[in-house]
Symmetry: C2
């Protein structure tokens, strides 16, 4: 792509560094910003810059926060003795959107994956074990993606917790709501059969 | 979407204002930036802000420029007596990418479209007429999108130029390279027949 202005070219190159954004999309976004008021673009720029420089991570659960403790940990209405273990901030947002969970979270910051060079030491696992020992945690819910890495991570953490006697659960895996049996993969279908529910329980749900 | 940090929420909202970017994509982009070095994000933010505040428009052709005159108008290697009339900066970039055009441009900044409330006065048409009168322009090439608005704009500008005797052309319309006859719309096929070329000319091309 040929540009007649280096200011434009630099802006397009910066946008094109973002994931899933190619040169053409980057150009479209930059030309859109070029049409906006100067104040609006300045605000866009300031908000992004402030986000990166001022955002903090909750010292307890590693969620993003404006202060030392995130709004979920600081909320006394939430069950502080219940911890949902997730891989990333994105999972917290997904679970919060269901409005079905009223406990707290613990963000691992990744998942054990030897092939990608990610071991337990790079994740917030030690702090989770400390947290459970220190707080009166009653239940630990694993909400990790259902794959080998997720299962390895659950297995590793569970072994670390062995001397402790708390309830440890994982979110249910099965045929997705609206999904069709014949298109489900064998693994999902097999697990779905193993973990079958009594119909009364299902209907009351 | 529920956020535990207002800094994160504001950044997502700013990204979601961009065209074609929804809340989920915005979140993905913001979380990507959150993983980057502070310096890199500061650079992203600075480049965008500078682009909007410092970019100029060429006083001759209205292309984006770093100074008063764009690099195409300032380039003495280009045929200054040839003007290609386009709708927007994006069209200039598309034509430049072909590396087949060595003249200059004139960016209208839009197209005559009464339904959208865009009349000739809001476009850079008057300046084009002045430019042609002042400079020794030899050829004017219209490279506008082939639709009613484009044709109206060509018609309007041509009438304005009537006392002048310069060569006025428009880019060829026809079946796109690699396209198939049976899927072409009637209008394109009809024009393509009307403007048929002698085979020798086509083969030499």
């Amino acid at each position: 792509m040929q540009f007649s202005s280096s200011l434009l070219e630099n802006a397009v190159n910066e946008f094109a560094k973002l994931p899933g954004i190619g040169k053409k999309t980057a150009l479209r976004l930059v030309l859109h910003l070029l049409k906006q008021e100067k104040g609006g673009v300045q605000q866009f720029s300031d908000v992004i810059s402030r986000m990166r420089s001022e955002i903090k991570f909750c010292q307890r659960c590693f969620n993003v926060a404006d202060g030392d403790i995130c709004s979920i940990c600081a909320n006394s209405m939430r069950k502080q003795e219940m911890i949902c273990v997730v891989e990333s901030i994105r999972d917290v947002i997904a679970i919060e959107s269901t409005q079905q969970y009223s406990g707290t979270y613990h963000i691992l910051g990744g998942i054990i994956s030897p092939l990608d060079g990610i071991g337990p030491d790079q994740l917030n696992i030690e702090s989770l074990v400390h947290r459970i020992q220190k707080e009166k945690t009653e239940e630990l819910i694993f909400a990790l993606n259902p794959n080998i890495q997720g299962d390895t991570t659950i297995y590793y953490i569970q072994k670390k917790l062995l001397p402790l006697t708390i309830r440890v659960t994982t979110i249910a895996r099965g045929i997705a709501f609206g999904g069709e049996l014949e298109y489900a993969d064998e693994m999902t279908l097999a697990r779905s059969l193993q973990n079958r529910l009594p119909v009364e329980k299902y209907v009351n749900h």
